[in-house]
């Protein structure tokens, strides 16, 4: 079931997910790229699982491949949960 994500809650959940997969908390901001955070495709699958768990939003295939920054994923989660 979908749960509406505000930009703030999406940011909070995604930041926690990034820390969980090993990103340095101090490096995480909207502009940070996944490359700069050393977040790879396996990490993004885990982030997608966390997002789905939290908001009922499924991030699959092309959705995820086009995401480059933390802001990109926050915006997509907010849009998809609306």
């Amino acid at each position: 079931m979908k749960v509406k994500a505000s930009p703030e809650t999406a940011e909070k959940v995604i930041t926690a997910g990034l820390i969980e997969v090993g990103a340095e908390p101090g490096d995480i901001n909207r502009e940070a790229t996944f490359e700069s955070l050393d977040v790879d495709s396996l990490d993004l699958v885990e982030i997608a699982q966390i997002v789905e768990d939290e908001f009922g939003v499924e991030l699959v295939g092309d959705d995820v491949q086009n995401l480059k920054t933390v802001g990109d994923v926050i915006d997509m989660v907010v849009a998809k949960s609306a």
Partner: protein, 410 residues
């Protein structure tokens, strides 16, 4: 003549502590790493060796391998950079079971949350070659690399395979060894169910009261190099792998051949590969699991392969103090054996008290003993040396796999 293969670095993480020195020193003190019927690496903290990200991307068996490899790489003097082209360095790491802890925890996720919740890291964590893959990636080793799976012989089979790889001339060096961390619910229950583990939780190899092995975890890693390459770079050589012999019993799913035929043939092959005779051996590091069947058949095998010399060569089991490290055992015991030979000591079979009829070798029951040097002159061209000591290290696994390493150190 094929390449001689030398050892330039060793590392171990065992229930006796982090580091090869802790292993031999505490063993000789008679300290046991077994508590409450299991032998865990209680002193090991993954974050001492790995970043948070690296640690969560490695099952505990891989984490242990990385810590042992760090020590071996440092001792070999490789920590400032590889001495050879990365393409000419291999990585061969054995394990009995691989990442069974990761498999079990993801099994629980599957049952509780469904397939979509299963971690994308599950496969790379649990695969049996994860140790080899992680070490190759960490140190940038781009030569031949794979895992070796032969139950409790895996560590010795891995090292033997690595020796052959160096001898083939395809590589200058190999990072090799074994790793295991399998004290999980299913594994503990399964070994108990088949009657392999000790119901009393006591490891007493070759003692009449022995009733099974004690599960342990740990890792042993060696840097081995062709003697020629090591000499050319001016490396400090700490030992040599003179020979390797491997056979199969083809007898039973789990039980060894009672006559020790397969293991005796492996011992004979290792000696012949080394170009030495039984009379030149100074020490035997036994498989000595503390199971009723192994310790009897291994004693038979030693008598068969070494003849009259079997009665006079000290034989001891590392498992008396660290339990059975399964796929790591052969590698950890190779590290312990090289250290024993260097220090000139036969470590004891701790806890041995009661003899059983037929189990009548010299199990070094009365504490550590100085090693006599019989004839440290291997016939394979390694060069004579009055204080060169020679040993074999035995490893046998469920499935009838037998692997024996013949080691030398000065």
């Amino acid at each position: 003549m094929s390449q001689r293969v030398v050892v330039t670095g060793t590392g171990a993480v065992t229930p006796l502590g982090v580091g090869g020195a802790a292993l031999l020193d505490r063993w000789c003190e008679g300290t046991s790493g077994i508590e409450d019927g299991v032998a865990a690496c209680r002193d090991f903290s993954p974050l001492d060796f790995l970043s948070r990200k690296e640690a969560r991307r490695a099952d505990r068996f891989t984490q242990l391998a990385i810590a042992a490899a760090d020590e071996a790489i440092a001792e070999a003097g490789w920590d400032d950079g590889l001495p050879y082209a990365p393409e000419r360095i291999g990585c061969v790491i054995g394990t009995g079971i691989g990442g069974i802890g990761s498999l079990e925890s993801q099994g629980a996720v599957l049952r509780e949350k469904g397939p979509k919740a299963v971690s994308p890291l599950a496969v790379p964590l649990m695969m049996g070659n994860a140790g080899a893959a992680a070490l190759a990636m960490k140190f940038g080793l781009k030569g031949e690399s794979f895992g070796v799976v032969s139950a409790c012989a895996a560590g010795a089979n891995a090292i033997g395979t690595a020796v052959r790889l160096v001898r083939s001339g395809q590589v200058d060096a190999v990072l090799t060894g074994g790793s295991e961390s399998a004290m999980t619910g299913i594994a503990i229950a399964a070994f108990a169910s088949m009657g392999a583990t000790s119901p009393t939780g006591i490891s007493r190899p070759f003692d009449a009261r022995r009733d099974g092995f004690v599960m342990g975890e740990g890792a042993g890693v060696l840097v081995i190099e062709s003697a020629e390459s090591a000499e050319a770079r001016g490396a400090d050589v700490i030992g040599e792998i003179l020979g390797y012999g491997a056979t199969c019993d083809a007898h039973h799913l789990t039980a060894p051949d009672p006559a020790g035929d397969g293991s005796a043939r492996a011992i004979a092959l290792a000696l012949s590969d080394a170009g030495i005779t039984a009379g030149q051996l100074d020490y035997v590091n036994a498989h000595g699991t503390s199971t009723p069947l192994n310790d009897r058949s291994e004693t038979e095998a030693l008598k068969r392969a070494l003849g009259a010399h079997a009665a006079t060569i000290p034989v001891s089991s590392t498992k008396s103090v660290i339990g059975h490290l399964m796929g790591a055992a052969g590698a950890v015991e190779a590290v312990a054996t090289i250290r024993s030979l260097r220090q000139g000591v036969a470590p004891p079979t701790v806890g041995w008290e009661e003899a059983e009829e037929g189990l009548d070798l010299d199990y070094v029951a009365d504490g550590p003993r100085p090693l006599a040097t019989r004839s440290g002159i291997p016939a394979n061209g390694a060069g004579p040396s009055a204080d060169r000591r020679l040993a074999i290290s035995n490893s046998f696994g469920f499935g009838g796999h037998n692997a024996v390493l013949c080691l030398a150190a000065t």
